[in-house]
């Protein structure tokens, strides 16, 4: 078994990233030899799966494109099934530099919180983005900070680390397209806690963002709507943090 010895897994969702996925997997494996690397190929048309497998990653090859939410959740399911203690998510397009994973892992291993978010806005470097996106992120950040009663400076960041109870929860409940802000509100309502560490993102090397300019408007409306609807839903006691921690021990 390739996965039995390690307690931490890196979850890398990738869609048509054959050009960069190999380097990313190799880099993560060299820098953090204790990590298992799991690449989720979200129904790519190119050779993403083969390249990732050749670089030594475990590969989940989804039969059709599920979007980043579905892909990442497949990773949570695998990690939860295999009883990993921690997981760190790092997107396959190369905008999450492997050197920042260490900060996230150190933070999550302190066992103080269930989720650690790598925030672009806590670091000194300015992250370049279009005006409309910056407005959207600012609005989301403002709303989520109020919902969570805790500062959430970068709620759309996909650079995150998780502990086992949260993996168990997300393996069963995870929003679909553009999931990060909604997931944050969802887990907070179920009693989980999060914190942020500063992280500098790279400009993307290859490929394009999964979010185009017109999609940004849809993104903002959809996420705001989802946040409101989630507030109106009842808390599911089966997946509350206390119950899951008890169940896992």
């Amino acid at each position: 078994m390739t996965s039995s010895s390690s307690t931490t897994i890196a979850i890398v969702p990738a869609f048509n990233e054959e050009a960069s996925i190999g380097t990313l997997v190799t880099e993560i494996r060299e820098r953090y030899p204790e990590l298992d690397v799991l690449v989720i190929d979200d129904g790519s048309a190119d050779r993403t799966s083969d390249v990732a497998r050749a670089s030594g990653a475990i590969v989940l090859s989804l039969p059709c494109n599920l979007g980043v939410g579905g892909a990442v959740q497949a990773g949570f399911m695998y990690a939860s099934d295999r009883q990993y203690d921690y997981a760190v998510r790092c997107d396959g397009d190369g905008q999450h530099p492997p050197e920042v994973l260490g900060d996230l892992l150190a933070e999550i291993r302190k066992n103080e919180v269930d989720l650690v978010i790598g925030s672009r806005h806590l670091s000194d470097e300015k992250y370049k983005n279009t005006l409309i996106r910056r407005c959207g992120i600012f609005g989301l950040s403002w709303l989520l900070t109020r919902i969570c009663r805790k500062p959430a400076t970068d709620p759309t960041s996909g650079l995150q680390a998780f502990n086992r109870p949260l993996l168990y929860f997300f393996a069963r409940r995870y929003p679909t397209d553009y999931p990060e802000p909604e997931a944050l509100a969802l887990m907070r309502r179920q009693g989980y806690d999060f914190s942020e560490v500063a992280a500098t993102f790279r400009a993307r090397e290859t490929g394009v963002s999964s979010i185009g300019d017109l999609d940004t408007i849809y993104y903002i409306i959809k996420v705001f709507l989802a946040l409101v609807v989630d507030r109106a839903r009842r808390i599911d006691p089966r997946y509350s943090k206390e119950n899951i921690v008890e169940h896992l021990s």
Partner: protein
Amino acid sequence: MNSEVNDFVTQLIAHWESAALARVVVGLVGAGIIAITLRARSRGKVSGPITCLWVLLGAIVVLFASNPQNFITTVIRTDYLTRVRIMLGLLSFLVLLITWETVRSTHLKERYALLWVATAVIVLVCALFPQAVDLFRAVAGMSYVTAVVSVMFTFLLLVAFHFSITMSSMELKQCKTAQRIAILEARLLEVENALREMPDDVS
């Protein structure tokens, strides 16, 4: 009936009276429909009600082709409301028939058929008992046809909404299935690799 409509009808009749070739072609099409239907029926390929519908359609076409003048004047002379009711009745009969046939050949699940049947039955009730729509007409201030169409529209909206819900839940199930398949595939690969590394004499 106003003169404009009368002019149009006279023109229509005159056109069809003189168009001999067109009448022959239409008549042959009608006869062809009847012949094909009866042939298929004799081989047991279509059910009774569907045969009736096709034969009726063929007969109407043949009747029209043989004597367009009488056909058009007879149709025009009947009451406007009667014609609307006959059309609605035929429509609902058609929907019921298609629904029934599809459920019978197991393409359609009963739960989806229910809303279609309800739509057809409502239309049928409207056609058979025009007075049933009267209360709705009085409240909404609509004419008979508008009232019936809005009732139909409401039911079609329900059907469409039902589809949206079903699609959302199907999407979720498809997502879960895809994830599970990918995980099983990954685990199968691991088992295969482990087996390959085992010495031969063990197996």
